[in-house]
Symmetry: C2
């Protein structure tokens, strides 16, 4: 570890409603330790900012802007989907990182992202031992998919979970009002290509056994058409309507995504996305019910207006902890959330080694999925409920949330251009 | 007008985030005038409740529940899509209404709905003169489509407008963060089959000229593919990304809906909904950009969690005014919102004759649409801005909004069954 050096912070992968809260935690905490940390540079578009030597000087932003990041969704410095290869496969990129870090006296590397990003962070942490460049490397968890191991929850997930649960409850009331003469089946498609955490969270909308969502379709449970249609029919017969929440990653036993099963349209295009319309079609063809469907897409992960207080607090705390870890001499680790109790929810900060986090995907435990595969269990509720607790409203102006826009001033380049 | 009689209140057509606020206004105001209004019966599923003699006794609900209606979305008594024919075409139904009203001493009729519903209210108002049954008949405006004439705004619209503007701003930040290496075009589909009010409201998300939404596709402007694609390309070239908000009713010059233009899929199904995926396909095929799309569907009109304060206040005030109008001896009218000034927004209650409201559809004025047809003008902003102003958050429990569920106790039937 260097005694006084600048820091590099970058956002990676799909952005969330609270990743900027982590950025706020990092920058505000670093500013409190000017004796140890000089400037905080943010990568323009994540790790690409380091490779391209596009470093944003966060010191040019006033305190109020850095504080406002806490309630601004998306990635304020830009993010990217870019995975570093291994040192053996692409030594040139690692050498470039060292060149840029050295040119700008960067001794701290904070990388805010999901599984792939923690893998990148882990690789960067190897620069010290393998290439002799001293750098302290800390990962900061983030992903709406909630699939990082070792942490109770991943920042970003709680807010999507809240959005999905709230939207499900609201839309279900709408359908219930109208079902006698109109829509009987409503389908909401949510994110989660590999794990069903987000769809499962919709289950929190349910207060009583007959409440929506009546059916949750998870990637973890192979889709069985006959059982599904029977459940839809039974639900409509019993309640007059049926609300279905489906994960974009829902698939058949052979691994085919439901969303891919629609074939091609009259023009030869692959039928455009949407497991929701696919399910709607299936219901209509087999049961004849009037349906409606919604696809939340980016609306769900950007919905800072209905962010979970727990999620915002944890995102900020993890950013803060990352800097504190670095200052405490830790390296190649990621701060985590450790659950101390369910109710009341108590948590503290723990840590995990990047080498153990990288590329490990946490799936939903089987014990969270109801016996028929269409719902969640009491254990799942105990786990999920605290993650959506509390509201953390942004401030509004003229009816719209005031989200901060940074100046994002780039530092002068010192090196020749690099071709990524 | 009868001196003391019971009242019938019904919700009609597509429900909204604030129609229950109007119900709350009606019932709370009626309860203050027990000398003049006996019970308030609500129709189970709108006018069908009257025809089927399914009358909910709102007197069985505690004050706290009726107050909580103000912050509960959907139609608490059930709604329906059912349009009465004219007296000449279906005298039997009118006779049935009279039978039910007489059996339950109903002298006030409050009908809460859009254009079709005001037409029904108007027809019911003719019972007095044409069939000799004395009834005071007041319409209460409601429709997310904002297409009723004579009123500055229709309750329900302001909240959808706010939801759409907020969601557009949030999703646009997300896309902007990622556009360098990921999605370049994002498409949000919103409601509005005949008029573009809802899509236009997305324009409020824009603070500066280059902000999202970059393109709004309105039903009022015939879709021109070449001009559209050019605008998408120019926007991506200039800003790196392009956000499009499209009304479900967007159509070509020949009247074909964009959503219908996709033809049939490999199974011979009409390609399932969604003008958003249709537009996405067009962009991909012609410009090759990576895209994402969302379809808000019921989420937008049920989104009480982000309701407009103006909208909630107006919905309640119109319910209140309906009862006050009835008590003042008015008949066959609908209370309206009259705008006194734009900024600060000042409004008062006015009135319109049901005979003039029924079946008249208010379109967006041409002066609200920008010259190129892809945006809104300053005049549109002046009109729209106050309608989304203010937040009126519901209370939360365990991270979810607490929405009231009524007991909805039916009054004992006095008449033989009727086949609708």
């Amino acid at each position: 570890m260097v005694s006084k050096a600048n820091a590099f912070y970058a956002q990676s992968g799909g952005v969330t409603a609270v990743i900027n809260a982590s950025a706020s935690g990092v920058i505000l905490t670093a500013r409190k330790h000017k004796d140890r940390i000089g400037k905080v540079f943010a990568g323009r578009n994540g790790i690409l900012g380091a490779l391209n030597e596009e470093l944003i000087d966060t010191g040019r932003e006033p305190l109020s802007s850095i504080q406002a990041l806490r309630s601004t969704p998306s990635g304020a410095f830009g993010s990217c989907r870019y995975k570093l290869k291994s040192l053996e496969e692409n030594a040139r990129e690692y050498q470039r990182l060292i060149d840029v870090f050295r040119a700008h006296n960067i001794g701290y590397f904070f990388y805010n992202g999901g599984g792939d990003s923690q893998d990148t962070a882990h690789k960067v942490s190897q620069l010290s031992e393998k290439l002799g460049y001293p750098i302290t490397c800390i990962g900061i968890p983030k992903t709406v998919d909630n699939d990082l191991p070792y942490t109770d929850a991943c920042p970003g997930f709680g807010s999507v979970a809240k959005y999905v649960a709230v939207s499900t409850r609201e839309a279900a009331l709408d359908v219930a009002s109208m079902c006698e003469t109109s829509t009987k089946v409503f389908i909401l498609e949510v994110m989660g290509r590999h794990a069903g955490w987000i769809a499962a969270a919709a289950g929190l909308a349910q207060e009583n056994a007959d409440d929506a969502p009546h059916i949750i379709l998870l990637p973890e449970v192979p889709f069985k058409k006959t059982a599904f249609l029977r459940k839809v029919k039974d639900t409509v017969n019993k309640n007059g309507y049926c609300v279905i929440v489906v994960s974009e990653g829902a698939k058949y036993a052979d691994g085919t995504f439901l969303a891919d099963a629609g074939g091609k349209d009259a023009f030869g295009h692959t039928q455009l996305g949407g497991v929701a319309p696919t399910i709607a079609n299936m219901v209509k063809d087999n049961l004849g019910y009037k349906y409606h469907w919604a696809v939340a897409d980016y609306l769900q992960r950007a919905a800072r207006h209905i962010a979970s207080q727990t999620d915002v607090d944890q995102a900020f705390a993890l950013g803060q902890a990352a800097v504190e870890f670095a200052l405490a001499g830790k390296n190649a680790v990621m701060p985590t959330i450790v659950r101390k109790s369910d109710k009341p929810y108590r948590w503290t900060i723990g840590e995990a080694k990047l080498s153990r986090v990288a590329n490990v995907e946490r799936k939903m435990p089987k014990t969270y999925i109801s016996k028929d595969g269409f719902g969640i269990t009491a254990a799942a509720r105990r786990y999920l409920a605290p993650l959506i607790a509390g509201e953390d409203y942004p401030t509004y102006k003229d009816g719209l949330p005031k989200y901060v826009r940074l100046k994002n001033v780039l530092v002068a380049k010192k090196l020749p251009a690099f071709k990524v």
